[in-house]
Subunit: 235 residues, 2 copies
């Protein structure tokens, strides 16, 4: 059973719910090209910039939305192939993926400050594991992956599950993400959303999707924690 949510109050610190790709690790552009090749091989060619704007959704939503947008339909077998191709292509370049500036330091600092945080990603647990290690995220830390919910972003399920696992009310949480899908999921969940430019969405796109504030990368957020309600003066 989930822990009972604590009451919010003037002294309470918000909990932070992080997206993974493009928010803590620098992997968005590798995903774009992996999808570009995969969709081309599956018979559904799509320009890279249009793929870029879908990253953050689950792979299932990406394929289905392009089928509808392009008017080309794939069989169930072809869709399965597209997913396999994406995995294979991404694996070829996944060793290039590095933490974003300040990502490790931000998570470490939050733990020192006793600010609850979790990672909620549209990717599967197996795909996320090597990157969680890269971020020094251990088995005691809270991570929600695609496998644990029925719907990925822009549905709010991942963030709702993360808040529940932390024992916090979603309205006490701040969602941090690089894509409009994170921010739309945050709106649907009634959490505050904060955008990072590290995934390549534009500032205006993130603000239009409801970002309360936009930072360059995790290092920039770490330098401005007070702006999202986290006191660091009396540590």
């Amino acid at each position: 059973m989930a822990k009972q949510p604590k009451s919010p109050g003037s002294g309470s610190k918000p909990a932070l719910l992080f997206d993974l790709d493009g928010t803590l690790i620098d992997s968005v552009y590798q995903h774009v090209l992996a999808w570009s090749t995969a969709l081309q091989k599956a018979g559904l060619p799509v320009p890279a910039a249009r793929i870029h704007r879908k990253i953050g959704m689950s792979g299932g939503l990406i394929v289905h939305s392009f089928m509808r947008e392009t008017g080309r339909s794939l069989t169930a077998k072809e869709i399965k192939k597209a997913h396999r191709f994406h995995g294979e292509e991404f694996d070829k370049v996944s060793d290039q993926v590095r933490p974003l500036p300040g990502a490790r330091e931000l998570l470490k600092r939050l733990s020192q400050l006793k600010v609850s945080w979790a990672i909620a990603t549209s990717g599967n647990r197996e795909a996320a594991e090597p990157f969680l290690r890269l971020l020094n995220v251990g088995s005691k830390d809270t991570v929600i992956t695609r496998d644990e919910v029925s719907r990925a972003k822009p549905d709010p399920d991942l963030f709702l599950a993360a808040a529940k696992k932390l024992g916090r009310k979603i309205s006490d949480c701040v969602v941090i993400g690089d894509s409009v899908w994170d921010l739309l999921a945050a709106q649907r969940a009634r959490a505050l959303g904060v955008g990072l430019l590290a995934g390549g969405f534009g500032e205006d796109e993130l603000m239009s999707a409801g970002a309360y504030r936009v930072y360059k990368d995790p290092a920039d957020l770490l330098a401005h924690l007070e702006e999202i309600g986290i006191r660091v003066d009396n540590d």
Copy 2:
């Protein structure tokens, strides 16, 4: 000697000056990852999204601006290495590069309509050649590359040289590009600028940089030629 510019008039058709990468060919994301690996290997690691926003400048400007932004300096030898690494990395994936939707059709249609057009790219001639062939651009078509001017975008030199080669006044030209550097170069040259979303810059970024209008890709521009002053009704 360049041809004398014709006078503009109510019946005159504008000439179109196209950027290449991200405007006619789908190569921006390959360049982002090639620079990402190259800069990392040269000792100047930079997140991919920040590299993305520099694409469209010359390679020289990209390296120098990151040196200043990160406060790390490279020796002349290391800078040379970074350029070589970029070329090597891009070559590995250049076979994935395809024309953007409608690119070939747009250039062909403009020629049929007797609308002058040219391509002006911050890349070198050698790098551009295979992609020009991909677009069916031949030796009779007008192409200006980095080698032919002293300063690349956002300086206006490439577009000014293209207009001159077409024998048109720059004020009679419309610059079509996917990056803010194209649009800033257009402003400096006093040409009208039109943005395409095909390189992954956001619509708002392109409008803020002075785009008169923004289209999704060359196919979308082809479908709306009248909006930039090209009559197609009486062909």
